[in-house]
Symmetry: C2
Subunit: 195 residues, 2 copies
Amino acid sequence: MSTVSLDRTAPTDAPVLDVLAARWSPRAYDGSAHLDDGKLASALEAARWSPSAYNNQPWRFIVARRGSETHAAIAETLIDFNAVWAPSAGALVVAIAELESDAGRTFATAHYDLGQAVAHFSVQAHHDGLFVHQMTGFDAPAVHARFDLPDRFEVVTLLAVGELGDPDQLPESARERERAPRERRPIAETVILDD
Amino acid sequence: MSTVSLDRTAPTDAPVLDVLAARWSPRAYDGSAHLDDGKLASALEAARWSPSAYNNQPWRFIVARRGSETHAAIAETLIDFNAVWAPSAGALVVAIAELESDAGRTFATAHYDLGQAVAHFSVQAHHDGLFVHQMTGFDAPAVHARFDLPDRFEVVTLLAVGELGDPDQLPESARERERAPRERRPIAETVILDD
């Protein structure tokens, strides 16, 4: 078990579930912690029960645990900034959108639905003490090719999943970000409310 | 307060947070229930703290409470099947993706990030006793035009948000769906696990 603990709870302007306020995306992962199979199964099960347009469930996941050949192949596609920290996580998980069905029916909200499934995954993971950091900084077409995915699938993001590590082990650039205040624009700039 | 209660908890194959397993998308809403401002604020705040690529937060929401002119304008754009039930919800919320920044920088994962924000919204709402049903069955370009949105924004989904109503008030076609078993494909068809 990791002994590292950072309180990164969001300074919310309205009450929000602890698991939603406390969830954040670290870069310091414990490179010696084994990913618990049960927690991984729960996170994937949470994703499974996510809603989607017409219940199409247009998502797939490749789970690559640290130490596997799959993990090494995926880690090779990371951009330099992510390559220094992401491989230490217990697993790298590829999040894939299904753009159309086997029969050629378009799933117009595939990316949107995939995002929801990953959100459910990350909320469950956080509840179970696992941290999730989503990335676009990797060679998605290379991952697509490596796994011989049909064209109707698109590799969208890569998730680092695992237990928290020591921020002091990170390179300086990443270390600073790890402790920077969490920020969002004010809600008034996001919402148009009827009057 | 609504007195209707249906246990629609998902039959999960692995332990999942109650709020994730119990969340579902109804069509029977209580057309007399007033939407609680505090609960609405909490759901929007949960969306606000959702993760996004480079913290771009490429999402906007239009909140139209039942009874407002905005609500009437949006309800007019619903397809017939949704028009019979969705306007009874306490609010219709338009979920909007920001495809590029004001300065023209592309937000490649705008739909994906919007999906995450809506997932956080719906999880918080469900925790607070509000139900969320996301729809694509409405005239999104008409909503875009009605609110004079710039081209860099795309109207993606519409959310019915409110308290549960009596399924027997629904037209027969919708009533059957309200009680149909909740189903997802087996997780083995979704995940490729390293060996």
